[in-house]
C-alpha cells in the first residue's frame, strides 16, 4: 500500500511541472501585460518600459520561468502586482475561504446525492423515484450563477433571511452562526448541480448491485430491507460511486468560481478571475499551480480510497 501511494505521488511530479510550463506559457502569450493594465490610459511605451523594469519583467522569458520555479520550490511565490502583498499570503487566505465553501457544498452534494440515488433505486419507477428524477433534472439544468442570483433576490432582498454577499458580517461577532448564515446560499447554489449528477449515477450503480445474486441471497435469508439497501447494496455500489464523487469534487471546486463572484465570496476562484483581468501574472501562476496541486492530491486520495474499498484494484 505504502509503495502504491509513493508511486502515485511520484507520478504527480511531471504533471505539476507540466502545469507550471503551461500556465507560464499562457500568461506570457496572452496579449496585454501588467504594466499596461496598471497604467491604463497612461501606458506610454516609455512608462510601460520603466514599470516593467521596476517589476522585473524585462528579463528573457526562459530566465523569468526558472527564477519563478526556483523561488516557488523554496516556498516563495513572489509578490502580487495588483494587491501589493505576497502571493502566498493571499493564496492561503483565499484558499481557506474556498475550502469552506466547496467543502460544505461537497458534503451536501455527496450526502443528498447518494441518498437520493439510493431512494430512487430502491423505489425504481415508484413515486419517490419519479419525484427525485424530476428534481434532479431540474437541478442539473439550472446554471449555478443564475440560481445564485435568484436566491439572492428571493432570500436576501425580498425575505431578508440571509445576507446578500461576503463571508463575515461587517459588524458583529465572527462566530459559527454568522458564518452559516453567509454560507448557506452559496453552498446550496454550488451543491445543486453536483447533487443531481451524483444522484443519477448513484441510482444506476445501486440498480446494478440490487440485481446481483448476493442481494437476492440476503433478502432470502430474511435480512431487513433497510439493512439490505443501506448496508449490503450501498457498500458494494460505493466502489463505483466514489470515483464519481472524486470527479464531482473537481467540478465543485471549479464551479466555485461563478458562485464566488455572484456571492462575493472571498475565495480563490474570484481571486483568479480578478488576477487574470489585471494581468497579475504571479498571482495567476501561483494560484493555478496551487489549485492544480490540490486537485492532483485529491485524485490520489480518491484512488487510494477506492483501492481500500475494493481489494481487486491492483495496488
Amino acid at each position: 500500500m505504502a509503495g502504491y501511494i509513493l508511486k502515485r505521488l511520484l507520478s504527480a511530479i511531471p504533471v505539476l511541472l507540466g502545469i507550471t510550463v503551461i500556465v507560464f506559457a499562457i500568461m506570457a502569450l496572452i496579449p496585454g501585460d501588467p504594466a499596461t493594465a496598471i497604467l491604463g490610459s497612461f501606458a506610454t511605451p516609455e512608462n510601460v518600459e520603466k514599470l516593467n523594469r521596476d517589476l522585473g519583467l524585462d528579463k528573457p522569458l526562459v530566465a523569468q520561468y526558472f527564477i519563478w520555479l526556483g523561488n516557488m520550490l523554496q516556498g516563495d511565490f513572489g509578490q502580487s502586482f495588483a494587491l501589493n502583498r505576497p502571493v502566498i499570503d493571499e493564496l492561503l487566505e483565499r484558499f481557506g475561504a474556498t475550502l469552506i465553501l466547496a467543502g460544505t457544498a461537497f458534503v451536501l452534494c455527496s450526502l443528498f446525492g447518494v441518498m437520493a440515488g439510493v431512494v430512487s433505486a430502491a423505489r425504481q419507477y415508484g413515486f419517490a423515484d419519479k419525484a427525485i428524477t424530476f428534481v434532479v433534472l431540474l437541478g442539473i439544468s439550472i446554471p449555478s450563477f443564475f440560481l445564485g442570483m435568484m436566491m439572492i433576490l428571493t432570500f436576501a432582498v425580498s425575505l431578508r433571511w440571509f445576507p446578500v454577499s461576503g463571508m463575515w458580517p461587517i459588524y458583529g461577532a465572527r462566530d459559527l452562526g454568522a458564518l452559516i448564515s453567509h454560507l448557506t446560499m452559496p453552498a446550496l447554489a454550488l451543491a445543486v448541480v453536483a447533487t443531481g449528477v451524483i444522484a443519477r449515477l448513484s441510482r444506476s450503480a445501486m440498480l446494478e448491485v440490487l440485481r446481483q445474486d448476493f442481494i437476492r441471497t440476503a433478502r432470502a435469508k430474511g435480512v431487513p430491507e433497510r439493512r439490505v439497501i443501506w448496508r449490503h447494496a450501498l457498500r458494494a455500489a460505493m466502489v463505483s460511486i466514489i470515483p464519481v464523487l472524486g470527479i464531482q469534487a473537481g467540478f465543485v471546486l471549479s464551479g466555485a468560481v461563478y458562485v464566488e463572484i455572484v456571492f462575493q465570496w472571498p475565495g480563490v476562484g474570484r481571486m483568479l478571475v480578478d488576477a487574470i483581468l489585471k494581468r497579475d501574472i504571479l498571482l495567476v501562476q501561483g494560484g493555478v499551480v496551487f489549485v492544480a496541486a490540490c486537485y492532483v492530491m485529491f485524485n490520489i486520495a480518491v484512488d487510494v480510497a477506492q483501492s481500500l474499498l475494493d481489494p481487486r484494484i491492483k495496488t
Partner: protein
Amino acid sequence: MTVLTWTRRSVLAASAAFGLSLGLSAPTLAQTPPGVLIVGQIAEPKALDPAAVTAVNDFRILMNVYDGLVRYKDGTLEVEPALATAWEISEDGTVYTFSLREGVTFHDGSAFDAAAVKFNFDRMLKEDHPYHDTGPFPLAFFFSAVQEVTVIDPLTVQFTLDAPYAPFLSNLAYPTGLIVSPAAVEQHGAEFGRNPSGTGPFTFAEWRSNEAVVIEANPDYWDGAPASQAVVFRPISDANTRTAEMLAGGIDLMVEVPPVALSEFAGDAYTLHEQAGPHVWFLILNAKEGPFADVRVRQAANYAINKSAIVNDVLEGTAAVAAGPTPPAFAWAYNESLEPYPYDPEKAKALIAEAGAEGAELTFYVTEGGSGMLDPVAMGTAIQADLKAVGFEVTIETYEWNTFLGEVNPGLEGKADMAQMAWMTNDPDTLPYLALRTEAWPENGGFNSGYYSNPEVDKLLEDARSATDQAERAALYQEMQTIVQEDAPWVFVANWKQNAVTSDRVESFALQPSFFLLLKDVVKN
C-alpha cells in the same frame, strides 16, 4: 416503506437544522449602525499609498485619509489651498513657492512640515532616495517636470521645474500628490500601503483583505471634525450583487450603479446622485489612410452617428452628448459656444458623396469593457448600424480591454479605421496634449493613435502649457476646441455622468466633478 420513513425523518431533521441556522443568523441582519457609513466599492484596493496606486477605486478611499498641498474647490475642478495656505509662481512659471499650514500633524503624531513635503516628492522622483524602493510609482511622471524640491524653512517649500508646466497645480490636487507621513514610510517600508498615515479627515483603522477597509473620524482635523464616526469600504466587484446589497440594506452608499439597475432606486427610500465629470468617450478615426484621411468623411461620421440615441437609450441617460475633445466639467477651460454635431444622415451622405467614399468598408475596434468605457459593445453595435445607414460597411473586431489597449495604443495604421476610447483626466491639458499633438503620434510615445496633425493645435497646446495665468490658458484651450471640432479627428460621442445611490439614512452627500468621493461632511443616521 422503511426507506421512505427514514427519508421523512431526515427531511424533518434537515429543516430543523435550517431553522436553527436562521435563528443563529438573525442578529447579523440588523441594520447598519448609525454614525457608520458603509460604502459599496467596485473592487479590492491595491494599496492605500497614494504614490503607488492608479485606480479611481483606490482614490475614493485615499481622498478621505490624506490631504494634498492643494485640493479642488467643492463642486469644481479649480484648485484651492489645503495643506498649503498660499503659493507664489515665479515670472517665468518655473518656481512655485508654497506656504504651509501651521500645526498640522499626521495621524501617527509626527509633524507635517516642509521636510515632509520634500520627502514625499523625492521618494517618488529620485531613484537614489532611500525609500524609492517602496514603489513602483506608476504615476510619478505627473511630476516629472519637478527638478528640485527645496526646504526654505519649516513652513515654506519650493518646487523648481525644468520648464513652465501649467497643469502642475492641478496635478498636485490629484491623488498622486497626496502627502504621506515620512515617519510611517520609514517604519513600515514597502508595507506602508497597508499601514497608511496621512493628515486627512479620517484615520486608517483596519484592512480586512477582501472584506472591508475601515477608517475612523479624526477629531483633530484642521478643517473640522467629520460628521460620521467611521466609514467602511466594502469591495463588491459584481454590479448585480452590489445592487442587491443596496436593496437589502447591507450598504448605505453605492457607486457606479449600472444603468439597467437605476429603476430599482426610483422610490423615496433612495436618492440618486449624478455628476458629469472630466470624462470623454470618443472614436479615434484613422486620419492617415483610408476614407477617414479626408476631413469630410470624418465630419460625415460625426453627423451620421445618433449620439442622443446612444446616450439616452443605450446608456439610459447616464451620459451627456459630447461636443468636442474637452469635457464641460472643466468649466473654466470649456468653450461654451461649441454645439455638438447634430444627427443629420442626409448631410453625412452628401459629404461622403463629395469625398467619393460611398460604400467604403471600415474596420472598427471595440472593447468588451474597461475603465470609463461605459457599455462599449452595445454602443459599438449602435454606431455600426448608424454608419451602415449612410452606406458604410463596418466590421467590428472585439477585444478584451488589455489586449485592446495593446492594439490601439501603438496606432491604427494598417489595422483599423476607427477605435473606441475614453479618458478621464484632471486637467484640460492632459488628453489633448497626449492624444492630439503631432508630437504625440504613437512612434513618439504618445496616444495620438489616429495620426491627427494640425500645427495650429500643436502651438496652442504648447502655449497653454507654459502660460500660468488661468484666463490666458482658458482662451487657448477654447480656440483649440473649435479647431479640433472642425477637423474632427475623433467622433465626439459622450461625457459620462458618474452616479451613486444613497439610502434615506444618509444626508449631505454630493458627488464631485473630479470623481473623487469626499465623505467628511456626510451624515449617517
